[in-house]
Amino acid sequence: MKHVLIKPATAILGVLIFTSLICLSFFIFHEEPAAVPVQVNNDLRFRGEAKTPPWSGWWWPFHISLPNHLYDPRGPMDKYDSLSVAQGLSNPGTRAWERENHFANQPGQEWYGHCNGWAAASILEPEPRKTQTIDRISFNPQDIKGLLSEWHWWDPAISYYGTRYDGPANNINDINPQEFHQAIINFIGKKGLPIIMDISGGTQEINNPQIWNYPAYQYQMEYSPEVNNPERIHVRCQIWLASSTQPDYLGTAPMLKTYYYWISKDTLQPTAGGWEKSNAGSWDTFGDSQKDHPDFLWYPAPSAQHQLLQRKQIDQIVSGGGSR
């Protein structure tokens, strides 16, 4: 049998050439994993804050058992009527209208009220902080906040994410967390605008659907990728909302809510901002977020009119114009 002898130098050279070819082919054919592109607003995935925080205020319930009401004697509507009379106008009857149309006294109606009006006003109007006296009628900040809450009660929603849960025919799970995640980052982070949340969503309202609107103005996110599924990331989202307070409160009283969910990266739009454009997700059982999560989010457009209130007169009250 004939043996082929290879010199050690040749063998080393061969191994070197072989290794070089392997390395070369690695550089040629190896595809780098797609990196999330660096964006100017990249940090908005982690925290964001509205430029102007909404103000806290009272939600002015309809129900007779839950004062304070807009229709109370010497309340905001009563003073509005008095001002009209003091200015030589006919009594517009706003207090009677309020008592007729925004009144409740039945069990199960305790949640009816003006939280949508207060939340919209707190986003769209500067906080009234001074008592204004016009024609010897004094409007303190809580009266003015009350009038603004009634005016903005009629505001449409220029943006709306999720759907209202009203019963078994509706989706109990929405708003989807990926939609929630995108709306929060887009409004509060990118635009610096607050956004209103109905916080009474999730399975908690299966037998008792209600609406509780609060303006959200700040968020902080923490991300932890799932070990066995790197396309899925778990999010702990903390949201700061302006809470409803006693009528005479001034400023922003924060209320903190924490939500847990996972979202899945949108592989169809890998360059569009990664998790911001997620197209799938679910509320996590951890932290009870399946039971308690926002039902829908919205942003108001100011009403152009009201059945009885006149915007000109409200502006006069807000500014104290014509005071004596």
Binding site: N116, W154, I158, S159, Y160, T163, D166, N213
Partner: protein
């Protein structure tokens, strides 16, 4: 016993082919006639009133309230990357279409397919490309689509106003009428909207 001779079979085959050709022609003619393709003219305009079921209200019986009165106006471009037609959309009362967005410019090709567009601020600055506006606003792409492919078969069947499903998951439908420049009615469950066309005479 053979019933059909080869010659007889040829005649039948020829007649069958002729019938098929006739049916095909009839199909195309009917398709053309029933297809409610709008006839746009430069400067033409119409109004769409958009109402919203105010589900965000703290009451168990949310009313429908008007959110936008949209004026839509046709501007004819020369053909190019921005399409043949531009529909400019703004609110007659000056309301935003999205916070900070006052106007939309949606571009259409010669056969009315959307080819692009912008969402524009009060200062005529581009706020967003139109796709991003659709991602976030009340008005999705289907609100602006003229000729959804899904409607073609249905349109063959009737000359009456036709209800077209735009998005089953979001409960969106619209109604087209022959020779109208835009749909005459639009309904959406998510978000809860309804809209009506008011065509200028």
């Amino acid at each position: 016993m053979k019933v059909f001779t080869p010659g007889f079979r040829k005649t039948w085959l020829g007649a069958g082919a002729g019938m098929l050709a006739l049916l095909g022609g009839f199909y195309l003619a009917l398709n053309y006639a029933a297809h409610p393709e709008p006839k746009w003219q430069n400067g033409e305009s119409w109004t769409v009133q958009v109402e919203q079921r105010a589900d965000h209200l703290m009451t168990n019986d949310p009313p429908w309230i008007t959110i936008n009165n949209l004026e839509m106006q046709i501007i004819q471009n020369s053909s190019g990357p921005d399409g043949t037609w531009c529909v400019e959309i703004h609110d007659l009362d000056g309301r935003d279409l999205f916070p900070g967005v006052q106007k939309l410019q949606v571009y259409y090709s010669d056969d009315f397919a959307i080819v692009g567009g912008h969402a524009v601020t009060q200062n005529s600055q581009t706020a967003w490309e139109i796709q991003e506006f659709w991602d976030y606003s009340l008005y999705g792409r289907d609100f602006f689509e003229i000729n959804p492919e899904t409607t073609k078969i249905k349109r063959l069947l009737s000359r009456n106003p036709e209800s077209v499903i735009l998005n089953e998951e979001k409960g969106r439908t619209c109604t087209w009428e022959k020779n109208q420049s835009w749909w005459t009615n639009y309904q959406s469950d998510n978000p809860p909207l309804r809209a009506t066309l008011y065509q200028d005479q």
